[in-house]
Symmetry: C2
Subunit: 265 residues, 2 copies
């Protein structure tokens, strides 16, 4: 362990030391961080599935031979990163995209309506779904070798009869073997929830680059706007555990009835 003072209370299992490169900094890592890593490993190994509860703080404390407070601090950070959800009186649960709650956890597009009336569920239409060799640019974004197989999906989301989002997304073919347009069509609920339940891939974090673009002929037709009309271009890379990129998504949003919402602090 990276800690020197815990002579008799090393957590179990004895976990390989993370840092401590000879030339670098001493890489001190507090106990609760090491516990956090251990819990993270269990999460990504699927010891506890999305939506399930993880062991109680007391149980984890016993398992790792640390105090409840230390486990608590580890879980606090996992909760802050939205990897688990705490529910007083019930337990701590593995976060999931399948929750009723906000339908799309990563979608920041909101209807303009000042009226709080949240619009109904989107109407989804798969336009295309095919396997192909990854173009260099796609491969790079997903950390694949150029030429590896990827799945490409194109779909349109329609809110209240207005086609609003045109999305292209690319997935590495290997982890998503068996994904078809039919399967996507049949599934009720967010796509990321399907990824969780059917393929064991949990999207944990994402980064977006946003631009304004003029609608191409093709996009204009699918979104029912005039070519050249300004659209919001949202390029998202979604990551699973370990900061592993697992999806590249390029969205074109109509922003005449909706807007992208963001909070800064």
């Amino acid at each position: 362990m990276a800690i020197s003072s815990n002579s008799t209370t090393d957590p179990l299992p004895p976990a390989a030391d993370a840092g401590d490169a000879p030339g670098g900094t001493p890489a001190f890592s507090p106990l609760y961080q090491q516990i956090k890593v251990l819990i993270l490993q269990s999460l990504q190994e699927g010891e506890w599935k999305p939506g399930e509860s993880i062991p109680s703080e007391m149980e984890l404390a016993a398992r790792f031979r640390v105090s409840q407070g230390t486990v608590r601090k580890a879980i606090d950070e996992l909760a802050a990163e939205n990897l688990v959800v705490r529910r007083q009186g019930k337990g701590t649960f593995v976060a999931t995209h399948a929750e009723h709650q906000v339908q799309y956890r990563f979608l920041r597009l909101l209807p303009d309506s000042g009226s709080g009336a949240s619009e109904g569920p989107a109407e989804r239409r798969i336009v295309d779904c095919k396997r192909q060799r990854a173009p260099a640019e796609i491969a790079r974004a997903l950390g694949l070798r150029s030429g590896d197989t990827v799945l490409q999906v194109r779909r349109v989301l329609t809110f209240q009869n207005v086609p609003t989002i045109l999305e292209d997304l690319w997935l590495p073919a290997a982890p998503f073997k068996g994904l078809t347009a039919e399967r996507l069509d049949a599934y009720r609920g967010p796509m990321y929830a399907l990824f969780e339940t059917e393929f064991g891939v949990r999207m944990v974090r994402a980064e977006e680059k946003i631009r304004a673009l003029a609608a191409s002929e093709e996009a204009a037709a699918l979104l029912d706007v005039k070519p050249g009309e300004p659209l919001l271009s949202v390029e998202r890379i979604a990551y699973t555990y370990q900061d592993l990129p697992m999806e590249l998504r390029r969205g074109l949003y109509r922003t005449d009835t909706h807007h992208y919402h963001n909070t800064l602090s």
Copy 2:
């Protein structure tokens, strides 16, 4: 206090109870939350100025008659909200926009360049600065009465000789009495830093609505693009303490060389 069990250790001053409406929920509020509110009050009253350190955890614990751990948890939350910054071995400091660090804390626009070379400071040009009666829409956003006086500033930010951002911003005239184009021009550093040091107004949080728009003739001229060219429209409301809106800002961003960056989790 909302707490019943702390018979002899009520924090000082005895702070009016926050909730406890007869018809509503019992409104239990943990001690550390009450401490947090007390610290917040001192922050907004200016007991400690931006950049200064606040008293040590031990001092605050003594002052409020609670344990260090309770103060710690209160400060933890304030730090998570970016209201204060903790620095091990030195103390806890009131957050400020004047820090060297990231030049613009609320600006999410980044250069496209894969090269990490961060571009130099922006060249800023005040196009306009005037007092006027607030149009209804502006007044509503700022929580003013329609007809109240507001300051309007228009400026252009240029990065590496490319005019990239055209911003209009509206400020309630009262708190910003004495603000002039000259003063804005003379000031080195972020505008929000000037607001802090010269007017005692700290922007603490902001919300943005983002859209894609076609450049108007006027915007196109100022940003050196063709009219109709797609631009990113970013409408920001910045809040000071107590969720009080203090600035409305409408920015038009060129996204041919830059992009708006956002992280989701």
